[in-house]
Symmetry: C2
Subunit: 323 residues, 2 copies
């Protein structure tokens, strides 16, 4: 009995089948025709040796591609707790998966930039700098940025933050609201754009505070703000989760939504634990994911890719009413 033998390679298969290495390769890749007779000989040789397909490492080196696409989403638990992140991620994964590519979760350290990546998706909307950026650019790894900072040499996928925010603001203005406050995100491209849209209508809107898309944090900020009671009649949030937090806090203080306070969100995701349909700006999460993945595929294949800005849509629910 031999000791622990090394895994068989394509060369072993070729030898066992009595054909050349290139013929064996062709048999599996199908890149050129192979006669039925040899094909069978090769296949049975592979089967008897337990060879299950080309070694991904050798294949990757030869083809110059790993089949792995990195995606940076920030801290995982934070990013994925945001319900708006998931449909987008699903869509990205589906499109890339159909092309045989896998998605690798990247952190902030430059370690991950040294992994074999064919392209990278930057989807940390809240951050304008990122450790691995320089290294990836130097290595000429295609970079697709979602709702992100303006970096040279990258492809951008964005939504119409500004237009959506402005439409929502107009809706509130139509309802008679004049004193409006906004619960913001940390400084970031989406936040800057949305705030600009809001201020097209309410130049003097006050600020409740800034936080991520986090229910408890939004609730806390709303508590402080409502205690100070500046007499605002509507609060514009930057996510439905934030909006839900504000609604819960308002109710805790005996305020009715929307008769005492109007609250608006952003994203258009489901909040099944809230017995109220939020007025919100619906963004096309799946389309955003698809567009992102398609940009990745195009960039990998070396094509030029245009930036994308997707439209959003105001959806009026039961959380906003007359001032």
């Amino acid at each position: 009995m031999p000791g622990p033998t090394r895994a068989p390679t394509l060369a072993d298969v070729a030898a066992a089948a009595g054909v050349s290495l290139s013929t064996a390769s062709l048999t599996f890749s199908g890149n050129k025709p192979v006669s039925e007779a040899t094909r069978e000989r090769v296949l049975s040789a592979a089967a008897s040796l337990g060879w299950t397909g080309p070694n991904p490492l050798g294949r990757s080196l030869r083809r110059g591609r790993s089949g792995v696409v990195g995606i940076a989403v920030g801290q995982l638990s934070t990013a994925f707790r945001d319900p708006a992140a998931l449909p987008m991620l699903d869509a990205v994964s589906e499109v890339l998966g159909a092309a045989g590519l896998g998605l690798l979760l990247m952190g902030d350290d430059e370690e991950h930039a040294r992994l074999p990546l064919d392209a990278v998706i930057y989807d940390i909307c809240g951050r304008d700098d990122w450790g691995p950026y320089g290294e990836l650019v130097a290595r000429e790894v295609p970079l697709v940025v979602v709702e992100g900072p303006s970096w040279p040499g990258t492809t951008f996928i964005d939504i119409d933050h500004r237009g959506g925010a402005a439409a929502l603001a107009a809706h509130l203005h139509d309802l008679g609201h004049r004193r409006v406050a906004t619960l913001t995100l940390e400084a970031s491209h989406p936040q800057r754009e949305r705030e600009a849209g809001l201020r097209e209508v309410f130049p003097r809107a006050s600020v409740v505070g800034a936080c991520a898309s986090d229910l408890a944090e939004a609730q806390r900020l709303a508590a402080d703000f409502l205690s100070a009671d500046p007499g605002v009649t509507a609060i514009v949030c930057q996510s439905d989760v934030q909006a839900a937090g504000v609604v819960l806090e308002a109710r805790r203080r005996g305020l009715d939504v929307p008769s005492d306070l109007s609250v608006a969100g952003f994203d258009g995701v489901a909040t099944p634990w809230l017995d109220l349909s939020l007025t919100t700006v619906v963004q096309p999460l799946v389309a955003k994911g698809r567009a992102t993945a398609e940009a990745v595929l195009a960039r990998i294949s070396g094509a030029d890719v245009d930036d994308v800005v997707l439209p959003v849509e105001l959806r009026v629910g039961d959380s906003t009413g007359p001032a």
Copy 2:
């Protein structure tokens, strides 16, 4: 001006620095000492050529490792919507990241099994079969299974489902409950174990229905069950999200929790949108993630690894009371 030149390789750097390929390699890997003089020559040659480090593809082939670990979690949006999944994933990612490894999200198709993976984590608790399994086994890719089916040749990371369920059942029995129902998961290792634990105390517990850890679905099942009104005084759920759904539905029908109906969960995650602390079985999510990642590291390094079963803890909240 030359045309689009190919990216520089280590060989180019070596040539430019006037040293051999191996010396150049050593300069960057640090695996053997290099004189200060040559080191500087090599570094400046690299800098002037714009060489930013070893090409991951070449490196991977040579070392037989890609640095990529696959993780199968099922449908992404479903898996990550479960709040119990995230702390675990975070812990896995942290430990693997510290070792320079990245996490690749795997789907169900065998395509992903052809990617360059150093190991795979199977974390789809609800599924007993999986397409890529056979291929991975054939390729001898180390496989770590979390709360999963008993597959040969794999390492298992589990929690004490049965003990936790039994402890919870005992708690309800102590409170005087005799007619108990359970909202289950789809047939799976965790479900089988937990049901066995429950039935140690309540052999004749009835079944509300089976669903994933999904609020809306749990609510729907609870609605049907409570309409039939079989007079149960407590419902044992398999996640805190399910339990929250049951609580919301009970209240919608005017039942008070816990005075009219006791409800228990599993997991011990935060439900900030619920104004009630759930009685639940707390599982060590972070420890589970760490143990998983450590098993992966050990398996990659070729070590033998013992299976792990982590303890759980009953946490009594305000959702259970006297029958």
